[in-house]
Symmetry: C2
């Protein structure tokens, strides 16, 4: 095994970056990412909820989860977080592309074992996924925290790619009759749907309404 | 290397499926997925545009792309496509989760080498990413098609996971004062932004307006 993943930029270098603040902004806007690792010669890529805690990425799951156990065992992983921000419609299929912001993080995730750290990390995750939620629900019990694995992946080795330019067509294509431009895409929240067993009289709170 | 990836469902089995039509519906609603493979002992996960062609998943990229070359070399890959459909707010952090639809496809991607097949596949991709676009732009040139690699991954070995239930709280939590329910999430198109060099008089076409 080579000791370091290959994080060189080759093609489309102008889209590449190693800026930490840019990486953080991409992570902080995401609720989930895709975690990849290899086991028995086969790669696996799974979606997971995640949140940043300073210089680390936190991921959580059941202590019974194969994914969590695989990561805990010290397998190298790659976590990729991508925002698809738009369709870039050039005058040809060849020059068409997408607006996106993507960060790939490489490393080995370590379990957070100290109870107070784990509790804090899990609270941070809850609050990241929906700011305002933590204060509205009961604290997690010791049993719940013990049944949850929290993994921390250092934000040391990462690459960022951003595509955010208008279509770039060669001069000969500019006489095209086709429309060219960008169609922005964004993940948006819809109307909240109350649980069937919600007690009467409980209104949708401001921190949920704010998502729309 | 084990000959087959491990695709058994263990936890949350009720969310798991191997239904081909369900897998197709998830793929067909997506414009991109995350491709994972391992090289030199390190996993890599990259976002890619993709489209289904019958029983195969098509992915394309530059023939100069490291990613395409790695996949073309016959490395086993895992392509995961995920729709994040909502936040499931239970009365506790422990029981909170997400609505999602995810498909993981395992296999070895093969390059489509026959020119007519490749041309057809690339046209299918263009049309998938934005139905109506193909007829509005010039045909791709032979040079452009030759500069593009088209990979085909059979939809043979895959698993589907779907989370689409309301929060499921234990009886003791139902007296909570916290709101519980689901906040739907959806990727939505915004107002199209014309290219700075768009010829005057070209209006946003119906197939683009339809995305909103």
């Amino acid at each position: 095994m080579s000791t370091q993943p290959d994080t060189r930029f080759r093609r489309l270098r102008e889209k590449g970056s190693r800026d930490f603040d840019l990486a953080c902004s991409i992570i902080d806007e995401a609720r989930m990412g895709h975690v990849g690792f290899a086991k028995g010669g086969h790669p696996y890529v799974l979606p997971m909820a995640m949140a940043r805690d300073g210089n680390s990425l936190l991921m959580h799951g059941s202590i019974a989860s194969r994914l969590m156990q695989s990561l805990e065992s010290g397998l190298p992983c790659c976590v990729t977080i991508t925002h698809l921000d738009g369709l870039v419609l050039a005058r040809s299929a060849f020059n068409s592309s997408m607006h996106y912001r993507s960060v790939m993080i490489f490393g080995i995730a370590k379990p957070v074992t100290e109870f107070a750290d784990k509790e804090r990390g899990l609270n941070l995750l809850t609050e990241h996924l929906l700011p305002g939620r933590r204060a509205d629900i009961r604290p997690s019990t010791r049993k719940e925290i013990n049944a949850t694995m929290l993994l921390s992946l250092p934000l040391d080795t990462f690459t960022v790619k951003v595509g955010n330019k208008p279509p770039d067509d060669p001069a000969k294509d500019l006489e095209s009759h086709a429309w060219a431009g960008v169609v922005p895409l964004q993940l948006k929240a819809g109307k909240p749907v109350a649980a069937p067993d919600l007690r009467p009289g409980i209104e949708v709170p401001a921190y949920v309404r704010r998502l729309r």
